[in-house]
Point group: C2
Chain length 225, copies 2
């Protein structure tokens, strides 16, 4: 820990603890004792626990959304009017995430887990905060997805986007644990980049699957081309 500034120490400790245990399960006392600062420092510098949660997200998300906007700009310029493909759009996103300057070796995976938690834990204030602050890059991503999958109906696309978000958020949210399991079971090391490299083709294939079939009768033998 190079920096000795109180605010950053709190943010570092909070980020890690939130990622490990969730928001409600992490108390201010855990954070302040890990950060080696006084308990009151959180309320002094941030105002409240919820505001601290927002600050943790903002510290990563604000530069990230700027990077992402640039990546989308570059992509659309390169495509010269034609809408980018699904793969290009997904790669623009993951590359932006992976290439963010990272505070420490855990870096991106901690934050991916936080994003997963943000979606999962029903913290109303957090969802509201994220929607208010980062609606623009999100809508832009959605628009690109729409243009990249014109063959899908709105309803199909809607659900498949949810499936994509789920696979991503869920995997990222527990990627440390999953990597450990893999390490132990198969003796394989895995970087976050490699996970992304596996995830993107999975998502793209699912997104472009043949039209959803109706519910088949029990006992029918369904097969995939």
């Amino acid at each position: 820990m190079a920096q000795s500034d109180t605010v950053d120490r709190i943010l570092d400790a909070a980020e890690e603890l939130f990622a490990d245990r969730g928001f409600s399960e992490t108390s201010l006392r855990m954070i302040t004792s890990k950060a080696k600062v006084n308990l009151a420092a959180v309320n002094y510098h941030f105002g409240s626990k919820n505001a601290l949660i927002h600050a943790v997200f903002a510290r990563f998300l604000t530069p990230f959304s700027a990077t992402l906007e640039n990546a989308f700009d570059e992509l659309e310029e390169r495509c010269d009017g034609k809408p980018p493909t699904l793969n290009q759009t997904l790669w623009a996103l993951t590359e932006s995430a992976v290439r963010m300057p990272q505070r420490n070796e855990k870096g991106i995976s901690i934050f991916m887990r936080l994003l997963g938690l943000a979606y999962t834990q029903s913290q109303g204030h957090l969802r509201k905060f994220l929607e208010q602050e980062y609606s623009e890059p999100f809508s832009r991503f959605m628009r690109l997805l729409k243009e990249a999958t014109p063959q899908l109906s709105s309803v199909d696309r809607y659900w498949r986007i949810q499936f994509m978000l789920g696979a991503t958020a869920f995997t990222m949210s527990s990627s440390d644990a999953l990597r450990d399991i893999l390490q132990n079971k198969l003796g394989v090391e895995t970087t976050i980049q490699e996970i992304a490299a596996r995830l993107v083709p999975f998502l793209a294939a699912g997104m472009q699957a043949e039209d959803a079939m109706l519910i088949p009768p029990a006992g029918s033998k369904v097969s995939v081309a």
Copy 2:
């Protein structure tokens, strides 16, 4: 609410509140006041809050895992030695879930949300409980998946299974909210069966995607067949 038994009233209330708000965010007082029973009844009948959480899961999961075992038996018998296909395996699972006798109209979606939370909220005791009690149908499902995707390397299969779990748990865990959004934005009603009918092809396609590509250099134009 037909039943007036205290234990069931507690379980009903707890199930719904846990699904709405998560485990840590739901207090025993919320549960007992919703169930219209005395606060002490929870500790009297279940012993602790954690034990109540386990009981909520067991009430659904025990009959479900029996149903699932039957479905797998039937499937393997029908396939007569040959390993069932990926689609058959996935459908056996979703059919078993959807056909479970449901306590009320919300039924399965509440429980799907609970399963999602179980994976996401890092409640150590819950994960331990689920692994101990329901490891058998889980391992069997994993074995069927392995036999249905012999073309995948162990590592690829491992990660893709995580992606599937993520898409499923995540979507199901917020399916009520998602359905409401869809209802409002596009005016479309969606049943849990229809979600499953969209999810399974997505998962199957992702699972059988072409081999994961390596990380492409920035600016490369990748496209999917």
